[in-house]
């Protein structure tokens, strides 16, 4: 019983983290049809920026809670600066290219950003545990857990709701739907598709960076952290259905809970199960469990 509760809680907090990272990827794919490998870099940069600034401001005597502000600021700044730069400098010139070229270009950007991290932040790991330490711990079903990881669950819910409201309830969401459905018809109807792409990419980048920034306090932030994250979020997005936010939720929950179960019972299968499920879903429902309404011409 205790173990089941532990699996649930571990799985949920891991899922939340996966969701926050993956939702940006799925949004970018949905709108721009770009599978962005550089998403792993947004994550890494978000984590580095947050860890760096939390360490810096903590050293200057700022209170612990200020870390939360820094997490948000880091995510927004990283997304805005790096996201905008990539869209403007690289992707803008590539929309007419073949899909595989765009994918590879994002891979190139990923490689470049991996090393720029080293050049900017050096090779030493960063720690930003202050926000996590501030929130302390709570005992659930006999296991003590950090409140911080639990708040990630809350953050994931807030982000999911915000995305849903934005897409389903706002004028913006409807414009986005038109572009998702058909870029050309959007243009013909006066939508500045380039602007939509910029906003989408920057928003997606911010979400990716937020994933990194939010998880930074629980990690040693060190070079290479983006490599595993990117395939994990691919798995999440593919399982749920590429381009679907509900799908990202389902995908993250499945991956998170599966992994937690594996770690508790058969640790050797921890990684395998994730990709086995990804393959299985692709085989049974290639569009993903929560495929968005297919871009079927009616």
């Amino acid at each position: 019983m205790q173990t089941i509760v532990a699996v649930l809680i571990d799985g949920l907090s891991y899922s939340s983290y996966l969701f926050i990272v993956s939702v940006g990827l799925t949004i970018i794919f949905g709108v721009m049809k770009i599978l962005n490998v550089a998403h792993g870099s947004f994550y890494a940069w978000g984590a580095y920026a947050a860890a760096y600034f939390i360490g810096l401001f903590h050293g200057m005597g700022f209170p612990h809670w200020f870390g939360f502000v820094l997490i948000a600021v880091s995510a927004v700044a990283v997304g805005a600066i790096i996201g905008l730069a990539i869209e403007r400098i690289i992707l803008r010139k590539m929309y007419e290219h073949e899909e595989v070229h765009i994918l590879l270009a994002t891979f190139g950007v990923f490689l470049i950003l991996e090393d720029v991290i080293l050049l900017v932040f050096g090779v030493n790991p960063y720690f930003a545990y202050q926000p996590m330490a501030l929130l302390g711990s709570v005992k659930i079903a006999g296991v003590t857990r950090d409140v911080y990881s639990l708040t990630l669950i809350g953050l994931a819910i807030v982000i999911a709701l915000a995305c849903w409201l934005c897409l389903a309830r706002s004028k913006w969401g409807k414009i986005l739907k038109v572009v998702i459905f058909d870029r050309e018809i959007g243009l013909a109807m006066g939508i500045n598709v380039n602007a939509v792409y910029v906003y989408t990419f920057v928003a997606g980048a911010m979400l990716g960076a937020l994933g990194g920034a939010a998880i930074a306090p629980t990690l040693s932030v060190s070079p290479g952290i983006g490599i595993d994250v990117i395939v994990l979020s691919f798995a999440v997005v593919v399982i749920g259905g590429m381009g679907s936010i509900a799908g990202a939720i389902i995908g993250a929950l499945m991956v998170g809970l599966l992994r937690a179960t594996a770690v508790h019972f058969v640790p050797e299968l921890e990684l395998f199960v994730i990709f086995a499920v990804m393959a299985a879903v692709l085989m049974v429902r290639p569009e993903g469990l929560f495929a968005p309404a297919r871009a079927r011409r009616i």
């Binding site: 595989v100 070229h101 891979f107 490689l111 640790p267 050797e268 990684l271």
Partner: protein
């Protein structure tokens, strides 16, 4: 006309690889090594090129590359095999076998779904290897030097010649395949699948055949890599970044000719070696920047640099 160009390519491949094998005896060891690594990668890229002609891009070809490499390592661990021929055969058979099985599934997929399913399969293998102690976990295995019919040569030059022979053979097989009716069919599938289907040709089967061929090439490539390097491990052989690198070399090389992958593979190996030497903290940056430069300025790959003057020359001759 087409068979004529085919002949010319075959001749070019034969001459090129023969020269390379001979040159190998005069090159310093480190260049021999890099050329071998480059040829091994080139062989896997040749597999991707075959798929690309069908319009498919696999983001998980490290599955077969790694499988080939691990076949060589495990053959040695379990049965003490160090002979070149059984090692290579093992790599090709294991990779081709799995390719044949997975092909039944993958042949139904196109575009991004094909890429993602390939990725999933390769990462599943990665997940198993990394977490299983008896399979070497993250360490992998060492591979002892390859023996050639009971003879273990002092230098690696002989081995380079063997690798060159294998690559030449593979390139010619692919060239012949692409020129065959089945090969033409795959290209037609890329251009208009439905039309091919209407004409009554079995699209799924031709994709399946191509896929198995591609898996065998990547398996051989991994096997050669393991032998050339003397080491296998999941991060360098099976992780998604390896698949990414292979696709990168495919684009860098260009899909115009069966010789292109080998040129691309060798160039990549030298770029990496020098990038690493000049800037150990920024070698990925250099590789990434090269990738972007190729995509932007040389979208048809290095081969277009060779092809253009060649075509000009031919025109003049005509």
């Amino acid at each position: 006309m087409r068979s004529l160009t085919g002949d010319r390519t075959v001749r070019g491949v034969l001459i090129g690889f023969t020269l390379l094998a001979i040159a190998g005896f005069f090159l310093p060891a480190w260049i021999v090594n890099n050329v071998m690594f480059g040829l091994a990668r080139g062989l896997a890229v040749l597999g991707l090129l075959v798929l690309l002609r069908t319009g498919l891009v696999s983001f998980g070809h490290a599955l077969y590359f790694g499988l080939g490499a691990y076949s060589v390592a495990l053959l040695e661990q379990l049965a003490g095999v160090t002979e070149l021929v059984p090692r290579l055969a093992g790599a090709v058979v294991v990779a081709g076998g799995l390719g044949w099985i997975l092909g039944f599934v993958l042949r139904r997929y196109r575009g991004i779904f094909f890429a993602m399913l390939s990725l999933a399969f390769s990462m599943a293998l990665y997940g198993i290897l990394v977490k299983t102690e008896s399979l070497g976990s993250t360490d992998g295995f060492s591979v002892s030097p390859t023996v050639l019919f009971g003879w273990s040569p002092e230098t690696r030059h002989v081995f380079l010649a063997m690798v060159a022979a294998v690559c030449a053979f593979a390139a010619i097989v692919v060239q012949v395949y692409l020129a065959s009716a089945l090969g033409h069919l795959t290209t037609a599938v890329r251009d208009n699948e439905i039309r091919v289907e209407y004409l009554g040709y079995p699209v799924a089967r031709s994709i399946h055949t191509t896929y198995v061929l591609s898996a065998m090439l990547a398996g051989a490539a991994g096997g050669i890599m393991a032998m050339a390097l003397g080491q296998v491990d999941p991060d360098s052989m099976v992780n998604w970044t390896v698949s990414g690198e292979l696709v990168f070399i495919t684009i860098m090389a260009g899909a115009g000719n069966v010789a292109a992958p080998f040129i691309g593979g060798v160039v990549f190996e030298f770029i990496r070696t020098y990038a690493f030497e000049l800037a150990p903290h920024a070698w990925q940056l250099i590789v990434g920047a090269t990738l972007l430069a190729i995509i932007f300025f040389l979208p048809n790959g290095l081969w277009s640099l060779i092809e253009k003057p060649w075509k000009k020359l031919e025109k003049r001759r005509d």
